[in-house]
Amino acid sequence: MAAQNTFLTEEMRQRAIGIEAESLVLEVEKGHIRRFAEAIDDPNPQSSDEVMARKSPNGGIVAPPTFLRAARVERPELPFDLPFTRTLDGGSEWEYFEPIRAGDIITAKARISDIIERSGRLGPMIITTIDHTYSNQLNEVVATQRTTYIRY
């Protein structure tokens, strides 16, 4: 497979894998959770109704499942240039460990875990896999997210 690569050598792959973006911190505000739920048009009282949320098993307002993308951690930068200008978001895989609560202080990290070259419908493309880790102020990992990012 590597022998057929035109834009990405094995040496480049090895240089890219493991690169991390600068971590950043998101303070989870109740109003932001509510606005996020409103933008989805998700009426779930667990994200918007303090009284109902208090009575629920979570015991308070919690964020909708994909809220942490609002942390907008930067993609780790590749240590080389590639001759592609167009990009696509390929998808997202979330795993959850703890609820995300109003008041949480979340540290978001992102690291390149893989990079490959493929040829597809759009011609040659570079697919980067990025692993995000989100931890709260108790140093608990609340969620992980694996995203794929396509350059073509």
């Binding site: 996020f36 933008a39 979570n58 909708p64 499942p65 993308r69 907008r72 998808g91």
Partner: protein
């Protein structure tokens, strides 16, 4: 919302209550603000068409969020979402009707937790499955 679903109520092959969304440009702007993704292809038609798109397109992340709501609506307040994934295989334009659907693919007990795996997806107005994915939830059990 309907009543709480229990693990015992679920069979493999069961269809999840579908969720219908028709995201307008206004909703895409709202999402841009809430998520912080202000890429113009999602709300500026001239910009979108300048990049070769037919119209403004729905954020992949918003479709991911719709699928999250599909699952959290279904599992109820005592359900726990463990995994949620989707792939952005096709673009969807604003004002199209997006139907979020799912079926139960596996039901099992792991570490004494009552688990269910689902296949989930979004189907657009043309009937195309643009956003396939999967989810794993823990449901409450009536046995305890």
């Amino acid at each position: 919302m309907a009543g709480q679903v229990y693990w015992e109520d679920v069979e493999e092959g069961l269809e999840i209550r579908e969720l219908v969304k028709t995201p307008s440009t206004r909703q895409l702007v709202q999402w841009a603000g809430a998520s912080g993704d202000f890429y113009e292809i999602h709300y500026d038609k001239d910009f979108a068409q300048g990049t070769g798109l037919e119209d403004v397109i729905v954020h992949g992340a918003l479709k991911n969020a719709f699928l999250g709501q599909l699952v959290t609506d279904w599992m109820g307040e005592r359900g726990i979402l463990k995994k949620l994934s989707c792939q952005y295989r096709g673009m969807d334009v604003a004002d199209d009707t997006l139907i979020c659907k799912g079926t139960v693919t596996r039901k099992y007990v792991e570490d004494s937790r009552h688990m269910v795996d689902c296949r989930i997806w979004i189907e657009n107005g043309k009937g195309e499955r643009t956003t396939p994915g999967s989810a794993t939830v823990i449901l409450p059990s009536q046995s305890r």
